[in-house]
């Protein structure tokens, strides 16, 4: 899965402008899944959703619509911490998305699939996938969508630390990145640095990149007390 996602995203990795990379991701996802449109919304510190990037104006409008209405798949995905998969907006129960569903249908959208952008308790936002035709996402497409969501999380984390230029290295799959020590180290680094979980993740990634080590190796050192990340001076 990541082998399919990687090269398309690496194409955008030369720039260190996170929004550009996110837009590249959305466009790549449209072609790969396939989908009619893809949008990424972020949850800001203030607890508000904002649109970060979209593959095209329709996807952009659909994301904005949810933010305006305060309802919709990306909001549900973020709140429930699980994907929200609706293969046919035309057959929803009347009580579901009473404002969003008709508006989305008016845009010609029939299916929406929203994926929370999260790593454990760190919730960054959601990625929406739209289709103009009704129908479920195939198993392969679901896997790809989740892979795109993971890559989007990495792009967002890397964007937190300006010292790390858009790194294509972060896109390539390291099986050990989902090892439990990585998550334990995130919690530890959060306490060591006195920052949010999201920032702790970004700092770990930046440290691994700067030291040319795998995230897993850095995490093992943190968990075994051999390494403690330091707050930045000044």
């Amino acid at each position: 899965m990541r082998a399919l996602v990687g090269p398309r995203v690496a194409a955008g990795a030369g720039t260190d402008e996170p929004l550009t990379r996110l837009t590249t991701l959305c466009t790549a996802a449209v072609g790969t899944l396939p989908a009619s449109g893809v949008g990424v919304s972020l949850m800001t510190q203030a607890g508000l959703f904002s649109l970060a990037a979209a593959s095209d104006p329709v996807a952009e409008s659909l994301c904005e619509l949810q933010l305006t209405l305060g309802e919709g798949p990306c909001i549900d995905a973020w709140a429930s911490r699980r994907p929200v998969l609706e293969p046919d907006l035309a057959v929803l129960p009347a009580s579901r998305w009473t404002a969003y569903a008709p508006a989305a249908l008016a845009f010609g959208v029939r299916a929406v699939f929203s994926f929370p952008l999260q790593v454990g308790a760190a919730q960054l936002g959601a990625m929406d996938v739209y289709r103009f035709s009704a129908g479920v996402l195939s198993t392969d497409a679901l896997g790809l969508a989740l892979a795109f969501a993971d890559v989007t999380v990495e792009v967002l984390l890397d964007a937190q630390d300006a010292a790390v230029p858009g790194t294509a290295g972060g896109v390539l799959d390291d099986a050990l990145d989902s090892h439990y020590v990585v998550y334990q180290a995130q919690g530890m680094t959060m306490v060591d640095l006195g920052v949010s979980l999201t920032e702790a993740m970004a700092r770990m990634r930046a440290h691994a990149f700067a030291a040319d080590r795998s995230l897993h190796d850095v995490a093992r050192d943190v968990v075994h007390g051999r390494l403690r990340l330091q707050p930045d001076p000044a």
Binding site: R81, L85, G120, A121, Q184, G187, M188, L197
Partner: protein, 241 residues
């Protein structure tokens, strides 16, 4: 290996039914399944692994969450009885670790070094799909009798149903939604273990004991509590000092 006593088994099924209510804590549910399996068939260590969206087995819960055991469970995403059960959908029963080096050259020696002599893995099946595996480690050379294997498979099947919370599954959507939520919930717990370990200057195993005790003493859900520890610690002053 003693055959499971019917009244004990009945008690476990009642406990499971009582747990499968709306908004239950998925990790606690899976821990209960592993703990009851361990008790019912007198096996010292039982763990449950689920496959993520890339088909890689991830540790979810165990009857004993000591790190050394977590490592044995997690190791199996590359090789081992759980991977076999997951990929083939077939049960792995009564495998003698002392004679498994050619079958699992990386896993078997590590498991033996951990003091275990036998291993079993049962697939978590949903119709034709396998979503993970239930893993049992024994310290003696005793075998699981066929009747016990049936009981353990039934518990594995119940774990699957409990995970997916729906008996009539439409397409693959619910599977994905629930599995992603469960996988993410496990991550929250690991993050909280790390944070608590640092706050209290203890290792992650002790941190987990702290987290679980607090959850039980204050009647809180484990995952919800873990989330608070790492996002809003002011809500749990007794735990984060």
């Amino acid at each position: 290996m003693p055959t499971v006593a019917p009244d004990r088994l009945a008690a476990v099924f009642v406990e499971i039914a009582d747990t499968l209510v709306d908004d239950f804590d998925v990790i606690e549910f899976l821990q209960m399944i592993t703990a009851r399996t361990s008790e019912l068939v007198s096996v010292p260590a039982v763990g449950l692994l689920l496959a993520d969206s890339r088909g890689r087995l991830q540790f979810m819960a165990a009857s004993d969450e000591a790190t050394r055991l977590l490592e044995l469970f997690q190791l199996q995403h590359n090789e081992g009885p759980c991977l076999d059960a997951f990929t083939t959908g077939a049960q792995v029963v009564n495998a003698d670790l002392g004679h498994a080096a050619s079958r699992w050259p990386a896993f078997a020696p590590r498991a033996s070094a951990g003091g275990f002599r036998s291993v079993h893995a049962l697939p978590l099946r949903l119709r034709t799909t396998v979503i993970g595996a239930l893993n049992l480690f024994g310290t003696d050379a005793g075998v699981l009798e066929p009747a016990d294997v049936k009981v353990v498979q039934a518990l594995a099947d119940i774990a699957t149903i409990g995970l997916l919370q729906e008996k009539a599954i439409r397409h693959g959507e619910v599977v994905t939604e629930q599995l992603q939520h469960a996988l993410n919930s496990r991550v929250v717990i690991e993050q909280a273990k790390g944070a608590l370990a640092r706050i209290h200057g203890v290792d992650v195993d002790a941190a987990f004991v702290m987290l679980r005790s607090y959850a039980r003493n204050h009647n809180r859900k484990l995952v919800d509590l873990a989330r608070l520890v790492v996002t809003d610690p002011a809500q749990v002053p007794g735990l984060v000092r």
